[in-house]
């Protein structure tokens, strides 16, 4: 255990809106709004922030200048840390928290804002054709234009190998929607979903139906990371970062989005290598000690595979694990995505999941797990290297 404890002291977000409904905003303006909200939540003057930690898959063009543009827009007098995680998309949320934690523990920075802003403009929608999409030549000419069919191929193999069933995928979608129905921030707050609704919805790419697939959200989320010593002078109960790490197995290549040549025994997994053991080992805990989980859910099947990857159940048992309401608040053994997740709260590349984990450690979730002491957060499975973290109250 490091001598200096890092923790999350502030959380914030913009309104989460369906794609296209943040007219007039940019990703930089949304990021600034979320950081201001997180600083206000922490009781911290925004000008005290001296570090920015980002992640995603867009460090080209004007986006490469985002740290400096955010700094200028927020009026931060001195920036001492800016990092961007070297992994695509939602694999990097917990890694960005890890980089922020390292920066404050080493003393290079004092208050680091972790931020993700998304605004999916035409031509850059994750779920639609994009001429700039990586690995274009071996996907697009075959009608595999977007993640849904490519991850559907992976999940189909999981179902073939382990007997995972449609009703188990549906349970993930229905459980998270019920959580979103309690969360006023959730895009799907007012829309109920039953298993019958789930099964009656149109296919996107078999075995994935409409409600297996995440939302398209415009908005931003942010966290403030500092040391436990500085946290004592701030407004909120800190969430301690017991462990935050990256990991990837070695034969993955570009994975489902660009290869499909992973070894057979790894194909229908999140490819975390030994990350689970390392993560829980550093935290001094086991998966069974987790009170509440936030698991990246671009598709329902990712949740099932992630539960297996980190040892919440044996390989191949993820489908059976979610049965019987195990992921549901309040009665399930492992309430998961208690704000609704990417399927029903918002799609902010996993940072909104981290925000909800902090709420659970404070005791302020709209689906609060009574007595929750330990929260687990997983970034996107199958995007290598992925990342995860364990927080404590």
């Amino acid at each position: 255990m490091a001598a200096v404890q890092a923790c999350i002291v502030g959380i914030g977000q913009t309104a989460y809106r369906k794609r296209g409904q943040h007219a007039g905003e940019t990703e930089v303006s949304l990021a600034c709004a979320a950081i201001r909200a997180a600083a206000d939540d922490a009781g911290l003057a925004v000008g005290s922030i001296d570090g920015l930690a980002g992640f995603g898959n867009d460090m080209s063009g004007e986006r490469a200048y985002a740290a400096a543009l955010i700094q200028q827009s927020l009026g931060l007098p001195m920036l001492r840390h800016s990092s961007f995680v070297w992994t695509p998309g939602g694999g990097g949320a917990c890694a960005a928290v890890a980089q922020a934690a390292d920066a404050v523990r080493s003393g290079r920075a004092t208050y680091v804002a972790v931020v993700r802003a998304l605004r999916q403009v035409d031509g850059e929608r994750y779920g639609q054709f994009n001429p700039e999409r990586p690995f274009f030549n071996f996907t697009a000419p075959f009608g595999a234009f977007a993640p849904a069919p490519l991850y559907a191929l992976q999940m189909k193999r999981h179902m073939h190998r382990y007997g995972t069933r449609a009703e188990q995928l549906g349970e993930v979608a229905v459980a998270f929607r019920a959580h979103a129905n309690r969360n006023p921030l959730a895009v799907m707050h007012e829309r109920s979903l039953s298993l019958a609704d789930y099964l009656a919805a149109p296919w996107v790419a078999e075995p994935y139906r409409r409600f297996d697939c995440c939302l398209e959200t415009d908005g931003a989320a942010a966290l403030i990371v500092t040391t436990a010593e500085r946290a004592r002078d701030l407004a909120q109960r800190p969430a301690q970062i017991l462990s935050a790490r990256q990991g990837a197995g070695g034969d993955w290549g570009a994975g489902p989005l660009g290869s499909h040549n992973m070894a057979d025994e790894h194909y229908a997994t999140g490819n975390i290598g030994t990350l689970g053991d390392e993560l829980f080992g550093e935290a001094g805990l086991k998966p069974a000690d987790v009170d509440v989980a936030q698991i990246y859910d671009a598709f329902t099947g990712m949740v099932i595979m992630t539960l297996e990857d980190y040892g919440f159940c044996a390989r191949g048992e993820g489908g059976r694990f979610v049965e019987g309401g195990r992921l549901r608040w309040p009665a399930g053994d492992l309430p998961t995505n208690t704000a609704g997740g990417h399927l029903s709260e918002a799609y902010i590349h996993g940072l909104n999941l981290a925000v909800e984990a902090v709420r659970q450690m404070r005791g302020t979730s709209t689906a609060q797990v009574v007595g929750a002491e330990v929260a687990f957060v997983a970034s996107a499975a199958a995007l290598a290297p992925t990342s995860a973290m364990v927080l404590a109250r």
């Binding site: 234009f145 069919p149 191929l153 296919w203 996107v204 790419a205």
Partner: protein
């Protein structure tokens, strides 16, 4: 299976050999001159031994369904008239088990079914697609 106005590949330095072979209606994969490992998708170095000595070798042996999905939503206008269409991961057990994302003539085959290669076009570029081999049950169309 898919219309000819589906987006065409744009060959680059690393995969030009694959598409040049396709233009001659030959399906080739990379194979390492040093360790004989097959690999796909194309890369500048062998993932087995790190050698840059990669050449192109014609695929041999059967092609089988490793995984399969039926796509019901058009994420590009060119495929709207083709819905639903089948995308598969096609495995070549005699080529080191390399796998290719491609299309399979409907209805969807079962995992493990044997496939026959057919050539269609994406724009002006011949591309490999597949249909069920005669021996499979229940995939007659």
């Amino acid at each position: 299976m898919l219309p000819a106005d589906v987006p065409a590949p744009r060959p680059g330095e690393v995969d030009a050999g694959f598409w040049a072979a396709c233009a001659a209606h030959e399906l080739c994969f990379q194979r390492c001159a040093d360790c004989a490992r097959w690999q796909h998708p194309p890369a500048p170095l062998c993932a087995g031994c790190g050698s840059p000595g990669l050449g192109w070798e014609r695929a041999t042996g059967p092609a089988r369904v490793y995984s399969v999905t039926v796509v019901h939503a058009a994420a590009h206008p060119s495929v709207g008239s083709a819905l639903p269409y089948v995308v598969g991961v096609v495995e070549f057990p005699d080529c080191g088990g390399v796998r290719l994302i491609s299309n399979i003539e409907g209805p969807a085959p079962a995992i493990g079914d044997e496939l026959t290669l057919v050539w269609e076009r994406a724009g002006d570029q011949p591309v490999p697609r597949f249909r069920a081999a005669r021996a499979n049950k229940g995939a007659s169309s």
